[in-house]
């Protein structure tokens, strides 16, 4: 009986394969230059530089991935037919990622962006086998001769939002819907609190963790529980607009995160802390086109100064003097005169983490594991050594 089954399946699959291959021969095999007909035929001069993006989420998340895709579109706009971009979305941060990256190389891409931390190991492996391709890894910390890490100073956006929050809160309780307790998010919570304290030393921050980057129903519940706990201004590090929408429904305030979310909660929206990947992607593309791309042991970390971070669409509900304060901070971040992470910084157990007047370096910032004074609770898993 087994033989029967094997035979039947074998014959059928062979037949099917033969039929399909027969048909398939009419199509070009996936050669590097054969893409969808939409691409213009190569101009008489150079072949366009093929750039590929790997996204962890869906392009429509209106948050993290959406911001990256906007960066990709900016590159297309800037360089026209000198480049040809493509993307794969919802690539899981797991074993599958390696295959996607290898496939991108096989398709002839020479510049590849991996837009989430979890792609680090797969990218390193693939980069070792494809030395002529340049790899850019977002939010990572490892590098190679053809791979470097980049990131955006989201904490600057969080700080500026905090300034607004501190001035707008009536209960002096702020709420943050946290995604995953990695240093970046802890840093953002801290910066948000510090920004608020700079205009209103009495504020407290409550944090609730969703343990995911993107889960609108959970984010809604988390936001609701923060509001129930007395917070009247909400901030988030998650990727959807659920938190803002919850605040809208409850008649409280919130911010947009990663991209401009004004339209999702017009009454609740105070401002959006956005990431603008355009400038960095354009610069990187230019470097590759000019042949001047160099790797870097330290991650390349752009902020307000380089145009990567901004606080936009500040609502008219924010009084003029508060708006001015934010603009001053922004200008100071732009020209480097304003430093957010300068001592004394005390954590919420009373221990001094940064002595007076000491400026934190990027390495220190990259490993933050404590909450500053004013934030309630303990960092999840923060004391695991």
């Amino acid at each position: 009986m087994t033989r029967h089954l094997l035979k039947l399946a074998e014959v059928t699959s062979l037949a099917a394969t033969a039929a399909l291959v027969g048909c398939g021969k009419k199509e070009e095999p996936a050669a590097p230059t054969a893409q969808a007909p939409a691409s213009a035929p190569a101009p008489a001069k150079k072949e366009p530089l093929k750039i590929a993006f790997a996204y962890v989420g869906p392009v429509g998340d209106a948050g993290w991935t959406f911001a990256h895709d906007n960066g990709r579109k900016a590159v297309e706009k800037e360089f026209g037919d000198k480049v040809q971009t493509s993307f794969v979305e919802k690539v899981p941060e797991a074993a599958d990622a390696e295959r996607v990256f290898r496939d991108m190389i096989g398709q002839g891409n020479k510049l590849i962006f991996g837009t989430t931390f979890g792609y680090m190991e797969p990218m390193l492996k693939v980069a070792a086998d494809a030395k002529e391709v340049k790899f850019e890894h977002a939010t990572g910390y490892k590098s190679a001769e053809n791979l470097r890490a980049y990131d955006s100073r989201t904490y600057e956006g969080a700080y500026m939002a905090g300034v607004v929050a501190g001035g707008m809160t009536k209960t002096n309780v702020l709420g943050v819907v946290g995604s995953i307790p990695i240093p970046e998010v802890i840093r953002n919570i801290n910066s948000f609190t510090m920004g608020a304290q700079s205009v209103n030393p009495k504020v407290k921050t409550k944090v609730v963790w969703v343990n995911e980057w993107f889960n609108p129903p959970k984010e809604t519940e988390a936001a609701q529980s923060l509001l129930n706990g007395g917070a009247d201004v909400l901030m988030q590090n998650t990727d959807s607009s659920a938190v803002l929408q919850t605040a809208e429904k409850a008649g409280k305030y919130a911010f947009g995160w990663d991209s401009d979310m004004t339209s999702y909660g017009p009454k609740a929206h105070l401002a959006s802390a956005i990431i603008n990947w355009g400038p960095y992607y354009i610069k990187t593309t230019k470097d590759v086109l000019d042949g001047t791309w160099k790797t870097s042991q330290e991650k390349i970390w752009w902020g307000v100064k380089e145009g990567a971070i901004d606080l936009v669409s500040v609502s008219d509900k924010v009084p003029a003097d508060l708006k001015e304060k934010v603009e001053k901070v922004k200008a100071g971040l732009k020209d480097g005169s304003y430093v957010i992470w300068k001592g004394p910084v005390t954590d919420n157990t009373g221990k001094e983490q940064l002595p007076k007047d000491k400026v934190a370096d990027d390495g220190w910032l990259g490993g933050i594991k404590f909450y500053v004074k004013g934030v309630e609770g303990k960092v999840p898993g923060g004391d695991a050594k």
């Binding site: 609730v208 529980s225 429904k249 609770g377």
Partner: protein, 306 residues
């Protein structure tokens, strides 16, 4: 105190989704059919409801669309399971898996859409009662409709002729058939009604609860609703209470985090699922009790003329 009142309000809201779906599944199971496709039906209904709300701006049409989507999927399921006698568990699973994929696919262009301003609800006068006001009376009408549904369903099952026939079909389809009742059509009606209710629940999630579409947004609520029916020993009032219990545990986990309780958040997130297991164990312990309460033909295929 204020925050506790708000916790109750949030619990009612969260529980409503589970309750509507749970009641729908109860109707199914009373007729003897287990529909494991609840999650898939809710997902497809969620995108159907959301899309309708985006295009028409009318929430109630959206609920209708969700109900229709759920009923349609349930009909496909019913056709296979009732007439072709396919295995109920496998078919239900297939429905769930298909629903997950299809909803994600259909929802692609809706991921960035938003709905118009979401209405506030208040019952004038009642909301001002201290504590009870904010706890109970600031809810969407669907919350109150759900309570009405529970009462109505209990009446239907235990006090109406039609309900009696339904239960008879669930206890012993052969006997009902012998008495001349169109067992298969009754089962199909039950399945489709159940599907419609799951659909309403799904649409509620995407239109009211979290007015967004994102794939997978039902996030296991369909499976919890299935657990609810067993846990409630197939009685409507208990389904409602159980739903509120689960809604409460879900909200509690965030509430505890916000209060600074030092339990790792992952353990708090586990709470609803562990609670389900514990309650299942407690309920099922007495095999006799289960046998007395469970519709006897649950999960078994029915062959007319056999």
């Amino acid at each position: 105190m204020e925050s506790f009142a708000l916790l109750i309000a949030a619990t009612l809201n969260a529980g409503t989704v589970l309750a509507i779906a749970g009641l729908g599944l109860l109707i199914n199971e009373r007729a003897g059919i287990v529909n494991l496709g609840a999650e898939g039906m809710m997902l497809v209904a969620a995108i159907a409801g959301f899309a309708t709300a985006v295009h028409t701006g009318n929430d109630w049409l959206a609920f209708g669309a969700g109900a229709a989507a759920g009923a349609l999927m349930a009909a496909a399921f019913g056709g296979l399971v009732i007439w072709l006698n396919t295995n109920q568990y496998a078919t239900g699973l297939a429905l769930s898996l298909f629903g997950a994929g299809f909803s994600a696919f259909a929802g692609i262009q809706y991921t960035q859409q938003k709905l118009g301003e979401r209405p506030h609800f208040e019952i004038a006068g009642l909301t001002d009662i201290p504590f009870i006001g904010p706890a109970l009376f600031r809810q969407h009408p669907m919350v109150y409709l759900t309570i009405a549904l529970t009462v109505g369903l209990a009446w239907f099952l235990y006090r109406s002729r039609a309900g009696l026939v339904l239960r008879a079909v669930g206890e012993s389809p052969e006997s009902a058939h012998a008495l001349g009742y169109p067992v298969r059509r009754i089962r199909l009606a039950a399945v489709m009604t159940g599907g419609a209710l799951c659909g309403v629940a799904g649409a509620y999630v995407s239109v009211i609860y979290t007015p967004l579409w994102v794939e997978g947004m039902i996030a296991g609520k369909g499976w919890i609703a299935l657990a609810l029916t067993t846990f409630a020993t197939w009685r409507p009032a208990r389904v409602l209470l159980g739903a509120y219990l689960f809604g409460g545990v879900t909200m509690l986990q965030f509430h505890l985090q916000g209060e600074g309780v030092q339990i790792p958040s992952q353990f708090l997130t586990m709470l609803p699922y562990l609670a389900t297991i514990v309650v299942l164990v407690l309920i099922s312990r007495n095999a006799t009790w289960i046998r007395v309460n469970m519709p006897a033909s649950l999960g078994k295929p029915f062959f007319p003329g056999s």
